[in-house]
Point group: C2
Chain length 341, copies 2
DNA sequence: ATTTTATAGTTAAGCGGTTAACTATATACT
DNA sequence: AGTATATAGTTAACCGCTTAACTATAAAAT
């Protein structure tokens, strides 16, 4: 691997000149520039990033951190879409992405992760923080490393989906269609902070429509399709008068759809079903699923931009992305009195 | 940020001693070790990785490369599972993962990617190579950077799913159930090399069972659920005598299942449907989908181990992971003569 | 008593860039 | 003519860590 010294020797200049020419510093004759460039080309010179990093203190690496708070995070469509958004932005800026998956679930903090953060290897950090309590960014902030949280972190800088508005939007949608008997399929409180926010938004929508939110039947799944089917079965059996099922993610909604059809009820004729997330499959289900998009790729992009802004010395304000209601065919007007079996 | 020099001063030793103590070099008194460790702890010293990298030539970073050969690669469950497998192995060895998504689709090679490869920032490369023609590893190999391909690359070192055996296995499964009229839903040749291999395996199974493979009706989808439904509709309309649909991925199989039910036919009573990949949802579909697992996490893990073996000076042999047939309820005995609508 | 060997530590030379500080010349300004 | 300024390039220190080569002492071997 040729070094800057090789280049400078071949070009007949000092390493300082070679270095400066390569970084487009002014005050060099075209001739000198040509000589250096020529040498670079002939030798196939590529700067050594470790040396540059040591010298400048900048690595052009940013870490994307997603804590192992739950299994299968690598296949969570939301998380991966966020990652895709980050990737787009970073690549276009010439930054590299380093993946880190610290184990925050244990009592002790992940040692390897702490080392990495303080190693000077990272120009900045983007963390997917699901809860304020288990923030991956606290140690980073303590060390003054520029960082942006995606979700419910405790940093000054964050971008998140407005779950409260999302819950309210989907609620208002169903209420506007005349639904008053709505069954809810969510997940246990500990599994997601955003879901709690959505429930608050949903309650607001109910209050404004004079519906008793507390009276709505609710079941806790675990995000999986299977649990959605199970919860739907329970809800429809114990509350045959329900005209809608509101699910906190699309996969559980898929399960609910299957289960509902299994029980011989038409969607949306007899029952409306809504999801959350707008996963790619949602639009292709039969019937296509009414859901809420969290605009995950945008979250990633916005977070990355925010981080670059900080690196440039800016002080960007937090961003709350409004939800995007995707009305499709799985929700329709409430039919009342219900045409039960 | 405290440096080694700070540590050595505080401990009253030379930086060499401090450095060696930290790397467990022999020939030091316990007293000296204690002094150094004490200083490290008091100062909260963390080695600067850029400096270490410059000095040792090792960064402990390996790049995971997935070319942008098709859209939505970040949500391809197989790719993400491979990534998860890699992550597990790398984390346990104290290596960091740098994500790279070069654009190989254009005529020119990705410049940023080439720079990265030759920058000395990478100890090794793991690439997901879908085709021998568009290998992300060629430039890396040219520079002598340790690299392992996952899929159909051109490197000495690779790990791949045995698609041929997989195609054969799923074929033999259907044939053993008595199916002879099998409709195939695959994707255009250019979209995936592995699929071509599966078809070869399938043909072998047919030949051995005295079935004319060439006569089997086939439709090309695009991996999506919607395309699966469309192809299924076409096949079942033009060939009402089909008793099975063999799909080249699970998502198309999902579409096929929906479409088939829409058309009033029972699965597996009237028609067997199989997928490929064994995505997480596959087991929870109604009916649960018979499919083939590519064992993606294992591919990732094996590839990572292989790379570490190379880094340790080894010369590991390529690995072909045998397919894992997941027989579930979407496939059953062929019923003949067919009970058509 | 002298040479080996093992133990315990230090000095200083890299690794490959960047950049502040400096030198040197040509041009422009009083 | 003398000073300021713009232009063009060099020297050498520095970033923080590793490690080969060296010094120095004590214990073991000859």
């Amino acid at each position: 691997m040729p070094t800057l010294e090789d280049v400078s020797k071949r070009a007949g200049v000092s390493t300082a000149t070679a270095s400066k020419v390569l970084s487009n510093t002014p005050y060099f004759t075209d001739e000198t520039r040509q000589k250096v460039m020529q040498a670079v080309k002939e030798l196939g010179y590529i700067p050594n990033l470790a040396a540059r990093a040591l010298s400048t203190g900048k690595t052009h690496i940013i870490a994307v951190v997603f804590p192992y708070v739950y299994e299968a995070i690598f296949t969570d469509p939301n998380v991966m879409h966020i990652l895709a958004g980050i990737e787009t932005e970073c690549t276009s800026r010439g930054y590299n992405i380093l993946l880190s998956t610290p184990n925050l679930s244990a009592n002790e903090v992940d040692h390897h992760y702490l080392q990495l953060i303080q190693s000077g290897y990272l120009d900045g950090i983007l963390a997917i923080d699901a809860y304020p309590e288990a923030s991956a960014l606290e140690p980073a902030q303590a060390k003054g490393i520029p960082s942006v949280a995606i979700g419910y972190g405790t940093t000054d800088h964050y971008v998140r989906h407005n779950d409260r508005a999302g819950g309210r939007a989907i609620g208002e949608h169903l209420l506007a269609l005349g639904h008053t008997q709505i069954g809810i399929i969510d997940v246990p409180e500990v599994m997601n902070y955003g879901v709690q926010e959505r429930l608050i938004g949903l309650r607001t929508a109910c209050v404004e429509a004079n519906i008793d939110f507390e009276a709505l039947p609710i079941r806790h799944g675990d995000w999986s399709t299977a649990s959605g089917a199970k919860c739907a079965a329970e809800l429809l059996t114990t509350h045959p008068d329900l005209t809608a099922l509101l699910c906190m993610n699309d996969r559980m909604a898929m399960g609910a759809i299957q289960q509902t059809r299994e029980m011989g009820r038409d969607i949306p004729g007899d029952l409306s079903i809504t999801g959350y997330d707008d996963i790619p499959t949602a639009a292709f289900l039969v019937p296509p699923l009414t859901t809420v998009s969290q605009r995950a790729p945008e979250q990633g992009q916005v977070a990355a931009r925010m981080l670059f802004d900080i690196l440039d010395g800016g002080k960007p304000d937090p961003v709350e992305l409004p939800p995007q209601l995707m009305v499709r065919q799985s929700s329709g007007p409430a039919t009342w009195p219900l045409n039960t079996m």
